[in-house]
């Protein structure tokens, strides 16, 4: 399990370095996805599968894919096809592919050994344990996070309003 942990950690560090050094936003985002998946693997190795699954579902799955879509949609013009062809070179996709392959290897090797509850040390934190902690002693933080999301939502809906500022909300 230590090997899995350190290998995933290394992948995360390398991928994040490439995020920072990439000039093209799409390439940077691809590396960021790899980095997030690597962090998820680190969580699995540490015995926190719930955090790992959240990392994959929310960060790599939802937020980053949204980022990629938005960046790609912003680039829609005539040169897109040519640009697409220029991007699709081995030099570009080889890096993320190799790093992802290492992660896949780690995952398969871990699964091959069979024991899902395998961790470096300590116990596996199940989703049930996380839920008990969140809605037990950490209840206040959960409630406050709800207020935080409300504030963020109101801010976003106010600032993101497309109507001209001359009209008040009640007149539209």
């Amino acid at each position: 399990m230590e090997v899995a942990f350190y290998l995933s950690g290394l992948v995360a560090v390398l991928a994040t370095l490439r995020v920072v050094t990439s000039i093209n936003p799409i390439h940077a985002l691809l590396y960021l996805i790899v980095s997030l998946i690597a962090v998820a693997m680190v969580f699995f190795a540490l015995g926190a599968p719930f955090a790992g699954a959240l990392e994959v579902i929310i960060y790599a799955g939802a937020i980053m894919v949204l980022f990629v879509f938005v960046v790609m949609m912003l680039n829609l013009d005539e040169g897109v096809a040519a640009q697409e062809r220029a991007w699709f070179k081995p030099r570009i996709w080889l890096g993320p592919a190799v790093l992802s392959a290492i992660l896949l290897l780690v995952l398969v090797a871990t699964l091959w050994r069979g024991d899902i509850g395998l961790v470096i040390e300590g116990e596996t934190l199940t989703a049930k344990a996380v839920g008990t902690a969140l809605f037990g002693p950490w209840l206040i933080v959960v409630e406050l996070a709800a207020m935080l999301l409300l504030a963020a939502l109101v801010t976003a809906s106010h600032v993101g309003r497309s109507q001209s500022p001359d009209t008040r909300g009640d007149e539209s």
Binding site: G136, P137, W138, L148, V154, G169
Partner: protein, 482 residues
């Protein structure tokens, strides 16, 4: 540990503020009404303030992740008072605002709740969530008039820089957690001990960076003047008062409860930050021709003075911080209140350039009197609240024999006197063809005018008869959990 009835009682002020925010939200969804929204907000805040009194008698109560003690209630009262002032000012200010106006109160209430959580936090998790709950609505409040370029700029600038500061804060917390394995402040303080390891020091340092940004302590102050200048009046008022009070209180709690801060090295860092704040803030304020920018730099200088209390860290430190925070709060609310009132009849950029204020006395004698009293108090002239605060700080510095810091305070105050007086002289100058930037004609009868006049009276009262305030702060210290 589960929540008991006592815990719920102690959390009641927070619950009521959040419930008011939800009520305001539902009200907006049902029907937009500016006056009604403002009234609900004010009633909610006043109810919460009244609720602090019975809870005062049962303090300190330790709730899971939070502690409701003297300091938390003291800061809570100050945050609520500034929110109340901001709500009253916003009612006048937003009256002519062309866009939707009701969301401002919702954001204001959320930010107030965040400030209260922050002041009561005794756990790194609530510290973080409280800080975010305080900052997140502020982004919206600062960028509220988003069709104005400057307001949008202020909001985005604060948003991006504040996110960077939060990253520092989180990284510091991660380092501390890696060292200690706990997140509650007492445990962190105990494990770190008198002489923390390099990683522990790094964690504390990063925490200081994160909190120092919000307090605009000197190396992290670059955002302050721009954000103050661009923000709509009530938002700038909240940023300068409630937000700073809440963050300072949590910093005070951190410094007082962590023995690692007795370390000479950390104290040296704090002392340098304090000295830099006083000098840089005051010197840069000298060259400003915009009242809001000037007040921004002056607040940087004031938090330099306040850091002296943290450098000394024992004896009268808590009492000094309490008295200084209270006097600073009342004074700043007064000064920003006048700026906001003067900006309110005009849609567009706020009235903040100094030439707008030329000869104000001959048009608006009462408002000018309020502004004069506030500026005198900021300068620390006797018979105003600011004098009592500054007296405390100097006394603390002299007692701890921190001569460099005392020297810095005296030099800073001397420079400060110059630029505050420059503004005051402008107020009374007569000049033909003066620019007409006025408060609404009936400002005195409006909520904002009454509040500002009350604040000016309070500044003078606290300066002439400070005994009740000092008694109160001593009582606060008595029921504070260390």
């Amino acid at each position: 540990m589960t929540l008991t009835m006592t815990h719920l009682m102690a959390l009641l002020p927070l619950i009521v503020v959040c419930a008011t925010a939800i009520t305001v939200m539902l009200g907006i969804a049902w029907r937009r009404h500016h006056g009604g929204t403002a009234a609900v907000t004010v009633i909610g805040i006043v109810l919460t303030l009244a609720m602090l009194l019975p809870i005062w008698t049962m303090a300190p109560v330790e709730v899971p992740l939070l502690v409701v003690d003297g300091l938390a209630l003291f800061a809570g009262a100050m945050i609520l008072i500034s929110s109340l002032t901001c709500a009253a000012l916003a009612y006048v200010y937003l009256d002519n605002y062309p866009g939707p106006r009701e969301e401002f109160y919702l954001l204001l209430l959320c930010a107030a709740a965040g400030g209260m959580v922050l002041a009561a936090s005794r756990h790194l998790a609530t510290l973080f969530v409280g800080l975010e709950l305080l900052s997140m609505p502020l982004y919206g409040m600062l960028a509220y008039a988003f069709s104005e370029r400057r307001s949008l700029e202020a909001g985005i600038k604060y948003f991006i820089l504040s996110a960077a500061a939060t990253a520092f804060l989180l990284f510091g917390m991660a380092l501390l957690y890696a060292q200690v394995g706990r997140l509650d402040l007492p445990a962190v303080a105990a494990v770190l001990g008198e002489r923390p390891t390099a990683w522990g020091l790094a964690g504390i340092g990063l925490l200081l960076v994160g909190l120092g940004f919000k307090l605009s302590i000197v190396p992290f102050h670059l955002w302050t003047p721009d954000v103050y200048e661009g923000a709509p009046g009530p938002a700038a008022t909240f940023l300068a008062s409630a937000s700073k009070v809440a963050v300072f209180v949590v910093l005070l709690r951190l410094v007082l409860s962590t023995p690692a801060f007795q370390d000479d090295w950390l104290r040296g860092v704090l002392a340098v930050l304090a000295l830099a704040g006083m000098l840089v803030g005051n010197l840069l304020a000298l060259v400003q021709s915009n009242l809001k920018r000037l007040l921004g730099y002056s607040s940087i200088a004031h938090f330099g003075y306040l850091l002296v209390a943290l450098v000394v860290g024992d004896g009268l430190a808590t009492e000094t911080s309490g008295v200084y925070l209270l006097t600073y709060l009342v004074t700043t609310l007064g000064a920003f209140g006048v700026v906001t009132l003067l900006s309110s009849s005009y849609s567009g950029e706020d009235t903040a350039a100094l030439h707008h204020y030329r000869g104000l006395f001959w048009r608006r004698p009462y408002l000018t009197a309020v502004l004069t009293v506030s500026l005198l108090s900021l300068a620390g002239i006797p018979f105003t609240a600011g004098f009592i605060g500054k007296f405390y700080i100097i006394a603390l510095g002299v007692e701890a024999e921190r001569w460099w810091l005392v020297g810095g305070i005296i030099v800073g105050s001397a420079i400060g006197l110059y630029y505050y007086l420059r503004v005051m002289v402008t107020l009374y100058l007569v000049e033909p063809g003066m620019r007409r930037r006025d408060a609404p004609r009936d400002w005195g009868g409006r909520a904002g005018g009454v509040v500002v006049l009350g604040l000016a009276l309070l500044v003078v009262m606290l300066g002439v008869y400070p005994a009740p305030m000092i008694e109160w702060v001593r009582l606060v210290e008595h029921i504070t959990v260390r």
